[in-house]
Amino acid sequence: MILYIEIFIMKNLLKYLKPYILLILIAIVFIVIQVQTDLALPGYLSEIINKGVILQDTDAILSVGLEMLGVALIGAVAAIIVSYIAARVSTGVARDVREGIYSKILSLSTKEINKFSTASLLTRSTNDIQQVQTVIFMFLRMVISAPIMGVGAIINAYENAPDMSWMIVVAVLTIFLIIVVVFIFAVPKFSKLQKLVDRLNRVSRENLTGLRVIRAFNTQEYEQEKFDVVNKDLVKLNLFINKMMVSLQPILFLIMNLLSIGIVWFGGHLLNESKLGIGDMFAFMQYAMQVVMSFLRLTMIIIFLTRSVVSLKRIGEILSIKNVIKDSKKPKKFKKEGEGNIEYRNVSFSYDNSEEAVIKNISFKANSGETTAFIGSTGSGKSTLINLLPRFYDVSSGVILLDGIDIKEVKQKDLRDRIGYVPQKGSLFSGTIRSNLLYGKENATDEDLISSTKTAQAYDFISEYEKKFDNPITQGGTNVSGGQKQRLSIARALIKEPDIYIFDDSFSALDMKTDQKLRKALSEKTKEATVLIVAQKIGTIMNADKIIVLDEGKIVGEGTHEELLKNCSVYKEIALSQLSEEELKIKREKS
């Protein structure tokens, strides 16, 4: 099963290589050419020595030398072509995969997205893709050539001096053994290292986020000790790993040196018995080095690649998610003059099929021109309930009707075009105030902007900016306050002039006064629309046409504020926790 999943994941990635198959094949041809020239070079060297130096033939040296240069040039050109193709293919695939994963993530429903953190999705779309690029580049540039080179060099070496080939085998085996041993020791330490680094990060983060508390409790020294313990552990482990790694390189050098000594010693004996030419011995030495080097390169690259497998898997994981929310194949259309009447009929929802339902068999109607409010403690499912309407999630059972049509049967785009959505956290995009507001309606006029921001109580602070609507908004909207963000989000939805408004706890960051003003202005603007409000504060919703009280995913009360105060204990409890009896009375009298 796991194997199947892995194959499935890899298959999703491999298909991105398809358009480049021809280029890759051409690259392989040039890799072979390049390797051949690399392999030929020591031969030319031995020829220079055998025919030229020993026989004292200057002409031979020159002609063989020029030939050697010609071959080297061919090799260089081939390497450059390979490099070109590798660059094109690796960045090309990276581009395609990046786009693939981006579109995929955009297309996913909130339910699927919530399984990952934003940070994790981001890593997958950026750093992991970079890994893919590096892997492909290295693969084309080095991995393919290494075994070809190794095998070629072994054959050549064998042809030059078959009696000495065993030395190469011994050297390669020793190197292999050493690398394996080092990594058997090192790899578990690496994962331990990662854990320690995480721990260090955690302690530092705690220190930084808790500055005030730490100072208030005078526990600076305690915190420093805590940090010191991790710091010491980290240093100790790093030292161990470094010392192990430090030993690797000198040992490899030693083996290569011993190999050349061995070749000279045993080669000398063969020379003595006239079983070997002197040039052959030199050539053999070169080939032996080539074998060892290509082998070393291969091992190092494999070690590098095993690390990036994690990245590949992470990308594949996203690409192989099956979209849950899809448009129906024969979508229905809303009537042109739809009113915006909503009906939930026996709706249940659970995030995961195995988990307990968050929404349990809920039915209600919300009609155009009415305000329907939802209240309940955290975890009562009120936010989830209204997020089902724009199909951020799909109902597990039951049906949601808009103007009598099941929302699953229309195009998502058509559905969402009718909804003005204001999220819990007023999130903005980088750009200007204008560009954010135009999100709601691309061709909005200045009048539209002004009237909507006036309603959302945002116009005053906008006009205080020198650039007014063109005042920049930084990424994440960090240059405006939470309350301002919420007001801009509301204006953004208002500009859209939709049939239906969803306010998902969108007034929480406003102070009492602004909240009250805003709701007053809003009620004018949304007279014709269907309004759904989720709120924590009783004050925000007490004047709604209908209040639905939720508790643990079920409706426990439905009616107006007055009615609920009389016959819904949960509602009364909430109300009393926020306002005293006497205040409730005042409110009642005033309204």
């Binding site: 040296i61 500055l211 240093v235 000198p250 075009d417 999100y439 406003l510 009492m512 926790s577």
Partner: protein, 663 residues
């Protein structure tokens, strides 16, 4: 090693190009930051000198060993030529002929006609002249064996030196890393809170992790690499010149050529790397934004729009990406080819020189090896230069942090408070965050022990300013704050802060058990006292209903507790400290109604008999307060009791009444 993605700056500063001559962060002041770094290395000067000695020694061994091996091959070649000559002659004379002892090649040469002599290479003739033809010459393995044994000894020594050097260097670099991290972590607690006002946590975090790691790595690798490379280049040059100055000059000719090519290519590819990093930054920003605003993109049907923006950047990234990738990939084959030119040039010249008997064969062999090795340190210098730049940039960030001005230390005769009653007075307090615009203008008030002060105002009105002043996170600009008549600036900070219990809106708990968290303010308090505190605040049964109760481990993000539970714990934590004065933040927006009642009760219990400052949101708290401070735009605009303020019919009255106006 892969770093956890916990870091806020998701775009890694070390771009993919850092390895291969890519763009690296450039320090503003290379010299200055290097100087500070060297100051940290100074205590280990002795070790560094040791490292240098070992590095130089082991490099010298690597340099002379090809020469020695060359001598061995020289001997072998000499003997081999004799064998060849002997065999050639025996081919000419009839089989079975026994030559008398002492018959030299000279005698033989005299026998053959001149025409045939011309076919024999010149060096062969010289060898022949002295060759004793009576015995078959053979290679002298005894001498060779000795030299080879010596060589093996050298290699082993070189290995040992190399290893010792690496061993010392890892020790030193880890010690420096440890010290740097320790200093940074201590610095965090010494900096005034003001510093963190405009710094993100991610920024400081990346100084502790990324930057210190960068320094550590480069100390570990570059230090010995620099020494080795320099020694190698110098040593190889000496050896090359000692073998043959002519050959050395020829191979040197290649140098300017390859460095010019490297320079050109790197310059060109840097341009694209920079472009790539820039596009990557904007692309990553766009991706991050659309992921966090995923729901909005959907709600407003903007998938196609954001995809189009993405595609534009993605294509740009591809264009600059493949160019920079290709250009940096170009470097290697070109350098190798230039190296080959040098190689062939040396072979040709070497052959000619050996014919002229100026250089012998073994030397050429050794020389060719040097030519090969010469290219390696040269290629390394480009990498090292980049690493050094990145290191300087990192140390600049680290030392910039370490050199920040610290909180003014307590004066020597600062007072340790004892038996505080809890009277607090503000006398003409003026305060400003930036030194220019006064946030609080001349505020005075007397608060008696046990009284309750409510701070109210709209969001962003600067209600935490009072907390900052009371706790001396910030100092007043003029005027004074007195606790029991003593100016708080004359009190030890630690002593002052001990007098305040604090329950803030951001409920800071650390990764540890609930018990550890509760006892945070008083480490060695008994469990009985802890239980009493949780009992009074009625938090006890909440904790007991959690899995594992008091021993439940709060995880890293503290998300295995609800916001309300966290708030309750911080209240109990403050209760346990039992300080005479309190600072509370009432905000409970993300807490469900039942927990809110619990929190309310706990806070009320906590406030009993203590002078309390409450950032208030609930009307009941506000109405029952002895003093209400109304804040707006950072300033205290009104003060008085509920009734007084309503009578005044000012901002407070407006605020209060807006609650009850109907929509």
């Amino acid at each position: 090693m892969e770093k956890g993605m916990k870091n806020k700056n998701t775009v890694s500063r070390k771009g993919p190009g850092a390895m291969m001559g890519g763009v690296v962060d450039k320090p503003k002041d290379f010299k200055g930051s290097m100087k500070s770094l060297i100051a940290y290395i100074k205590p280990y000067w002795n070790s560094i000198i040791f490292v240098m000695i070992f590095a130089i020694a082991s490099t010298v061994f690597t340099i002379i060993s090809p020469k020695i091996l060359g001598n061995v091959t020289n001997d072998i070649v000499d003997d081999y030529i004799k064998i060849k000559a002997y065999e050639e002659i025996y081919k000419e004379i009839p089989e079975g002929t026994v030559l008398p002892e002492g018959t030299t090649g000279e005698f033989f040469l005299a026998q053959i006609p001149d025409s045939k002599k011309e076919d024999i290479p010149e060096n062969m003739i010289d060898v022949l002249k002295e060759l004793d033809l009576s015995v078959r010459p053979s290679i002298d393995f005894e001498d060779i064996g000795k030299t080879i044994l010596m060589l093996i000894g050298l290699y082993l020594l070189s290995l040992l030196f190399n290893y010792i050097q690496g061993w010392i260097i890892s020790g030193v670099s880890q010690k420096i890393t440890y010290k740097l991290r320790k200093d940074i972590s201590e610095k965090i607690h010494k900096l005034p809170l003001k510093y963190f006002d405009n710094k993100s946590i991610g920024d400081v975090m990346s100084r502790i992790t990324n930057d210190v790691d960068m320094i550590s790595q480069s100390l570990n690798q570059s230090l010995s690499q620099i020494i080795t490379s320099i020694t190698l280049v110098i040593g190889i040059l000496i050896m090359m010149f000692s073998i043959s100055w002519r050959l050395a000059l020829v191979s040197m000719l290649v140098l300017p050529l390859s460095s010019a090519i490297v320079f050109l290519v790197v310059k060109k590819s840097q341009k694209f790397f920079k472009k790539q990093q820039k596009v990557l930054g904007s692309l990553n920003g766009h991706i991050e934004e659309t992921y966090t605003g995923h729901i909005l993109v959907k709600a407003f049907n903007k998938e196609e729009n954001v995809k189009n923006i993405f595609k534009k950047d993605n294509v740009k990234l591809y264009k600059s990406g493949w160019k920079s990738q290709f250009l940096s990939g170009l470097l290697h084959p070109i350098i190798v080819f230039v190296g080959n030119i040098g190689y062939v040039a040396v072979a040709i010249l070497g052959g000619w020189l050996s014919i002229k008997k100026i250089v012998n064969l073994g030397d050429i062999q050794a020389f060719l090896q040097y030519v090969n090795r010469f290219n390696q340190p040269l290629r390394q210098t480009a990498t090292i230069a980049n690493v050094l730049q990145a290191t300087a940039a990192s140390s600049e960030r680290v030392f910039e942090f370490l050199k920040e001005g610290e909180e003014i230390e307590d004066s020597k005769d600062a007072i340790e408070l004892k038996g505080v009653k809890g009277n607090i007075s503000f006398k003409d307090v003026v305060f400003s965050y930036d030194g220019d615009t006064d946030v609080i203008e001349s505020f005075s008030a007397d608060i008696k022990a046990g009284q309750r002060v409510a701070i109210v105002g709209p969001t962003g009105a600067g209600k935490t300013t009072m907390v900052n002043l009371l706790m001396r996170f910030y100092d007043v600009k003029s005027g004074s704050i007195l606790v029991d008549g003593i100016d708080i600036r004359d009190i030890k900070r630690s002593s002052l802060r001990k007098q305040f219990g604090m329950v803030l809106q951001d409920t800071w708990l650390f990764n540890g058990t609930i018990r550890e968290n509760l006892k945070y303010g008083k480490k060695n308090v008994t469990d009985e006292k802890m239980f009493r505190a949780t009992d009074i605040t009625q938090v006890d049964h909440v904790i007991k209903s959690l899995p594992e109760g008091y021993d439940m481990v709060i995880n890293e993000d503290a998300d295995n507790l609800s916001q309300g539970e966290k708030q309750l714990l911080t209240i109990a934590r403050a209760m346990l400290v039992n300080s005479p004065m309190l600072i509370l933040d009432e905000a409970t927006s993300s807490v469900d109604t039942r927990t809110e009642v619990l929190i309310q009760n706990a806070m009320d219990k906590l406030m009993e008999g203590r002078t309390s400052f409450v950032i208030a949101h609930r009307l009941s708290t506000i109405k029952n307060a002895d003093l209400i401070l109304v804040m707006k735009d950072g300033n205290i605009i009104e003060k008085g009791s509920h009734d007084e303020l309503l009578e005044k019919n000012g901002f407070y009255a407006e605020l209060y009444n807006s609650q009850f106006e109907s929509v």
